[in-house]
Subunit: 414 residues, 2 copies
């Protein structure tokens, strides 16, 4: 058995003990984790400095170095996240359905932990603690595979998390970090059938595709968002300008940022100059189709632009003949994440909502609202763009499964 | 593009039209399907006779020939199933969560169809209609891949289903039958990423394993049930005998039948002779461990017996030291389907319910109750033994996903 599979097996052995803990036991571990991180800033920052030095030597970009960097403020944010989980309602033990059958059997469908959750992620070391905290709150053991650039930070953090488990009389293997940061370790996680109940890749499209195409364990896809804002013929244009600007520029590097603007032909003459000015002021580069470039200055959009998640201050712009053309464009190029319409026309809004196949559809609101925090779900493990099990922002509830409990007095089938 | 992928692509093209239909449109198609089957008994039975002749010539077992056989009664059962679906509540368009955010955004999580469901199944041609009916009711296009032994029956039935769609102004490709019944066609279905939203294998462990190990599309595992009944020290022994006999003999060929009996050492002397007599009278062959064979006549159980789903009048029997030993045995050999305890001890019942990792746990009831029909879910597409998306009996609700609809008045993130 490889090291990766041995680690998964260790997590699996620990998981039944964890699954049987009470809410207060799990909350005590979360508080203990926070306390140990609070008391070990020096050691964590020293490990982080090693990662930063190695990154600088390897020519890591300034942006990537910033993602990697920990400081006292960021560590305080991390432990605040753990304390927020202590305060969150327990997702385990909820009765999701319950009924009594005609023969007197009492049936309850109760939420239970999944078992072992594996997560593959890039860059930021805070994910190590966030993911372990979400898994702990939901009674799941976890196997964490971070990036090589953060290995020293992740190792230091995981050691503290495991010490907290031991201090609270739980198996340290409830939280396992995989030391092997090669591509092969990701492949092996995908082969851990029977040892891993759910594998969540968090990162770029390349990582996600690699995990899915090779995994024999259940995977939830997260994160790729080629999101559109469609400005309808009946849009309130100043509102549309605010929404488009917010969706593009509020935080361009995230999956719920807008990447393409679609404008109804009848309002293109009035809306395009207005939005072009606003976006240019905000530093956004525009790539337009011919009809757009006939009205405003923009680089010509190539066919790839419609499929590109820029994650940057770049926006593709197309003029469409009508709502159906907008829906057809989104069908062809969308990634089923978030799509928005700006319109005052009820019928158009209803047709757009019904016609778009996405985790979230916004009517007269920014795409940026597809977010576990904004939806009030608390900590978020990612935004699922698949249809099975979880779709859209995933919180603690999505890290559970169910069990039917059937109680009788000797009933048999007749 | 292969024929299989082309078929999946055709279903995918049809699916948005189907997803936008109303409840009454889908019900009208279901009624039309029933009517066309009712009016074509001769043609269906002629096609079925071809399958039966070919099966007899190929040496198909009598049991398999019986599974394959259609007659007027079975066809009437099939159309009764379609009419029951017409009467069932629509699983689409239900608001599963809904709330208003502090900023005034109205958020609703609404059930929507998955898109395209593919199903691989063996033997019985009624599954062609059952599966197409469930998919239609839940607004999903379907791709059906039945066995070669039923290809003529399935082709005749699928033709009628597609004619019903056309008659009701919907694309015939909402229901697609794959003519290629080779192993390779199953493999290709598993590669139809982006074309198939869910693949459900229904059949033996070999088929299910083949689908899972090679699939890049989401799969739901169904059906393998190595179910245990544990007779506790505090069991009402006559009740235990009724439950064990029912769980084993009521319908031995199905996944919720019991395969292993575990008896607490303290009641082994009194219970084993009692149950052995009852089971022998019902024609059940027993395979026991040493402690069992010291008390009753039974063939010796080999180590494979504990992992065998007999699907036949055979029962493995072991004596266990206590509840923990029973849980450990189930942990090692169970398939996460259904596990039962017979006990009058509240603490033992609670510990068993908490300790068993299965889709369903029975307390003082037969394992045979894990069933969509028994639970009142109406038509059942299978019993999921996995943890993601659906666990236990799957009805129409499990063939849906959700979409967040967010409505505002121009809200942006600040």
């Amino acid at each position: 058995m490889s090291d990766v599979l041995a680690t998964c097996a260790a997590a699996q052995s620990a998981s039944p003990t964890l699954a049987r803990t009470s809410t207060s036991q799990r909350n005590a571990v979360l508080a203990e984790m926070a306390e140990r991180i609070d008391g070990a800033h020096d050691a964590i920052l020293a490990a982080n400095a090693e990662d930063l030095d190695a990154g600088a030597a390897a020519g890591l970009s300034t942006a990537m170095q910033d993602r990697l960097r920990l400081d006292s403020t960021r560590l305080a944010d991390i432990t605040a996240g753990l304390h927020a989980l202590v305060d969150a309602p327990d997702p385990i033990g909820r009765v999701s359905r319950g009924f009594t059958l005609p023969n007197g059997l009492d049936v309850r469908q109760v939420t239970v932990p999944l078992g072992v959750i594996a997560m593959v992620y890039e860059g930021r070391p805070n994910v190590t603690v966030d993911a372990a905290g979400l898994a702990m709150k939901s009674g799941n053991a976890c196997v964490l595979r971070g990036s090589s650039s953060a290995i020293n930070s992740n190792t230091a953090l995981a050691r503290l998390l495991r010490e907290a488990l031991t201090a609270r009389q739980l198996p340290a293997d409830c939280v396992c970090l995989i030391a092997d940061t090669s591509r092969d370790s990701v492949k092996q996680l995908g082969r851990a059938r029977g040892l891993v109940d759910l594998l969540i890749p968090r990162g770029g499209a390349g990582l996600i595709q690699a995990v899915i195409s090779d995994s024999q364990v259940p995977v939830i896809e997260t994160g790729v968002g080629n999101c559109h804002v469609y400005v309808d013929r009946a849009a309130d244009l100043p509102m549309a300008a605010r929404i488009v600007t917010n969706a593009k520029t509020h935080r361009p590097s995230v999956c719920n940022a807008a990447e393409t603007l679609l404008v109804h032909r009848e309002v293109a003459d009035s809306f395009l100059p207005l939005i072009a000015q606003r976006l240019r002021d905000a530093g956004v580069a525009l790539r337009g189709d011919e009809a757009t470039r006939a009205r405003i200055d923009a680089e010509p959009a190539s066919s790839e632009d419609w499929d590109t998640e820029y994650l940057d201050l770049v926006l593709a712009v197309a003029v469409v003949d009508d709502l159906d053309a907008a829906l057809a464009h989104i069908d062809r190029h969308g990634t089923h994440h978030t799509e928005a319409i700006v319109t005052s026309d009820r019928t158009a809004a209803r047709r757009f909502v019904a016609g778009v196949d996405a985790a979230a559809v916004m009517v007269n609101a920014s795409t940026r609202f597809t977010d576990g925090g904004e939806f009030g779900f608390g900590a978020e493990i990612g935004i699922s763009t698949q249809k099975l099990h979880a779709r859209g922002p995933m919180g603690l509830a999505e890290l559970t499964t169910t069990k039917y409990v059937v109680e009788g007095d000797g009933q048999v089938r007749v």
